[in-house]
């Protein structure tokens, strides 16, 4: 059974419209959670991370916000999409390891096209 689910699988949205992407982790207690963005052919850019419910830290400012309303849920959103938001959004989880070497496990991702 898949541990990490992301929804939706893909979206086509208009510039200026709102966006909400979700990620759910099943079977893992208190994981660290991460959001990444990958432009087509581009690198992985970490957007946010959360190590506990209700607390989210921003890594880069891309006019996006994130929330962790439950231990197993991570939400990425914006009120106004920009063309530059197009790309592949990946949620990842890890369990705290020793010395910072915890492996990140990536979800299947959401493809977003902003027109």
């Amino acid at each position: 059974a898949q541990t990490i689910h992301q929804w939706p699988v893909a979206e086509i949205k208009a510039v200026g419209s709102p966006l909400s992407l979700g990620c759910t982790i099943k079977g893992k207690s208190s994981p660290n959670l991460y959001w990444y963005w990958q432009a087509t052919g581009g690198t992985l850019q970490q957007l946010f991370y959360s190590i506990t419910v209700g607390q989210v830290e921003s890594v880069v400012q891309l006019n996006l916000s994130a929330s962790r309303p439950k231990d197993d849920q991570f939400i990425l959103s914006t009120e106004k999409l920009l063309l530059s938001h197009s790309g592949f959004y990946l949620c990842a989880w890890s369990l705290p390891g020793t010395g910072g070497g915890d492996t990140q496990y990536f979800g299947p991702g959401t493809r977003l096209l902003v027109l």
């Binding site: 660290n32 991460y34 581009g42 690198t43 992985l44 850019q45 970490q46 991370y49 190590i51 830290e57 890594v59 990946l90 010395g99 910072g100 070497g101 492996t103 990140q104 496990y105 990536f106 979800g107 299947p108 991702g109």
Partner: protein, 113 residues
């Protein structure tokens, strides 16, 4: 700030030849964790290798890498490329005690028959 530099762009190899993908990093911290992630077409990235220990070789699925803090390098190697190795490879850096990851630009490896 912290950064990771990889072999740029596309590396094309004939099956059976050795693989060497370069990764160097910059950080002011002395205890970085280095990772190699692999992303096959239309898939998500998955961990290939990771290391924290200086001068210790780490191996997985035929690939190996050694973290050299003296040269700030973590090059990925394999003795013999296979067609199934064709993928995008990312080198990444994390500072111990920090939850921020810095990924390199990625190197696309294409193995041809």
């Amino acid at each position: 700030g912290d950064s990771v530099t990889q072999t740029e762009g596309l590396v094309t190899l004939t099956e059976g030849l050795p693989v060497m993908l370069n990764c160097t990093y910059q950080t002011i911290y002395s205890n970085p964790f280095l990772f190699w992630y692999v992303q096959h077409l239309n898939e998500s990235p998955r961990l290939l290798l990771k290391s924290f220990t200086d001068n210790k070789r780490t191996e997985h699925q035929g690939f190996h890498a050694t973290l050299h803090k003296s040269s700030s390098s973590f090059h990925l190697q394999k003795s013999s490329a296979q067609l199934s190795d064709s993928a995008l490879y990312y080198c990444a850096l994390r500072i111990t005690g920090n939850y921020k990851y810095v990924f390199g630009a990625g190197t696309r490896l294409k193995v041809i028959a």
